[in-house]
């Protein structure tokens, strides 16, 4: 247990490991304390266990970059990086991430110091309304890391060879991020530019 998860706010923190801890948690499902490290800063949050990671980010930490599109894992607007891996933050509970390191769009770069992927989206106009964009960018950053790590995809022809940064690979790997404005071709151009740079 890296982080304290306990009963209602202000009461003693219990070690959440077994039946005793289970009984210690109130039936009203209020007030678990959970420590999250978000964009490098630690936060102790008192949360209803029902709180998704997305709602903890948006409603409790006021990091509204991550968007809620569908709230059911279908659109990718809520994509964030947890311990470096992209996930749908709407389909996971904040209390399941005690001690984890979360990176949101706000942590990738700032308006003054854009992440290369953010800069490429701006340059290539990889959006229209911008609602899906934070999720697209977080996902795209992870996609390039996944290819680098040799993780295959549905379109990888030879499973035993290292996957390449082809357009077909980028498109398939980005399929969990829906853009209602249909900015796909510019999104692919932006990612392709970053992918083409020497690592």
């Amino acid at each position: 247990m890296e982080a304290g998860i306990g009963t209602a706010v202000g009461t003693a923190v219990t070690t959440l490991a077994g039946p005793v801890a289970a009984q210690a948690i109130s039936r009203e499902s209020t007030g678990l304390t959970v420590r999250l490290k978000v964009n490098g800063t630690e936060h102790d949050l008192a949360l209803d266990p029902r709180t998704t990671l997305l709602d903890a980010l948006r409603e409790h930490l006021h990091l509204t970059g991550s968007k809620k599109g569908c709230d059911h894992g279908q659109c990718g607007a809520c994509t964030a990086l947890v311990n470096g891996r992209r996930i749908n933050s709407c389909l996971t509970l904040a209390v399941m991430h005690a001690g984890d390191e979360v990176t949101t769009i706000e942590g990738l770069g700032t308006p003054e110091k854009l992440h290369p992927m953010q800069a490429a989206f701006v340059k290539h106009d990889g959006y229209q309304c911008g609602y899906c964009t934070p999720g697209q960018i977080c996902s795209a950053v992870a996609v390039l890391q996944e290819i680098e790590a040799g993780i295959p995809s549905y379109v990888t022809e030879d499973l035993t060879a290292a996957p390449q940064r082809t357009e077909a690979e980028l498109r398939e790997r980005m399929s969990g991020n829906i853009c209602r404005c249909g900015a796909y071709s510019n999104i692919v151009e932006a990612i392709t530019e970053v992918a083409g740079r020497p690592a």
């Binding site: 948690i25 996971t92 509970l93 993780i151 549905y154």
Partner: protein, 316 residues
Amino acid sequence: MRPFTYERAASPAEAAAAAARNPGARFIAGGTNLLDLMKLQIETPSHLIDVNGLALDRIEPTPEGGLRIGALVRNTDLAADARVRRDYGVLSRALLAGASGQLRNKATTAGNMLQRTRCPYFYDTSQPCNKRQPGSGCAAIGGFSRQLAVIGGSEACIATHPSDMAVAMRALDAVVETVRPDGTTRSIPIAEFHRLPGETPHVETVLEPGELITAVTLPPPAGGVQIYRKVRDRASYAFALVSVAAVVQRDGTARVALGGVAHKPWRVEAAEAEIPRGAKAVTAAMLDGAKPTHDNAFKLRLVERTLGAVLAEAKG
């Protein structure tokens, strides 16, 4: 979402015991299916037992020469494992055909095996559904049934099992390992793991209350050409209309399992003797007794053609 209490289990046996003590309890692994259903109040657990910390996230060789895949191994990590890519390609391919990169990073081996149907009426709480609410009826029979089962269904339910991974596991003869609340363990061949709907479509597997999956074991590599072919309404990020998992040997023998046609991954070992006579004969034997609806009768031809394409691809 209904309120629930939350605990982290300390060991597999304790997780199973805790689940047995709390009749309203559910295990939560990746959460990508359970939380989706909890938000819609289709699943309403009063207690969640988080099994993510149980160190069941390793893939290890077995003494027999196979692989033991921990229940908590993520779909991404299983698909990317060098041994799986080399020796169990059909499994890698099936995993990569499912969901999205984000979802596969969270989804676990056990959770994938136990994911629930995508029948549209199961998801629509204003409709009768025997699986969601036993005894309420089945809105799919006589309703919009394009995606639903063509074989093995019942008067009570014609839902399909949506997993791609499980279809490959069926072709590979995987075995599900579990621990029960009393601490005893058992091994369940995948052929016996999922149930047909019968009168009780809400009972989807042979797992007992509180029984926890600890691993899924693969026998030694089957060799051959391994193919997973999935047919869906768009090129990516959609559930299968039908899918074929095949392990085809040089001598022309093969193992074949189908997805998208039944309440469980569908394999008929006896039908595999028909392989030399081609896809039409194999399909006829595999889908003998099929009862398609008006909406999904196309799946019979689709299986035949998909299997034909798979067998042709295997010949090279």
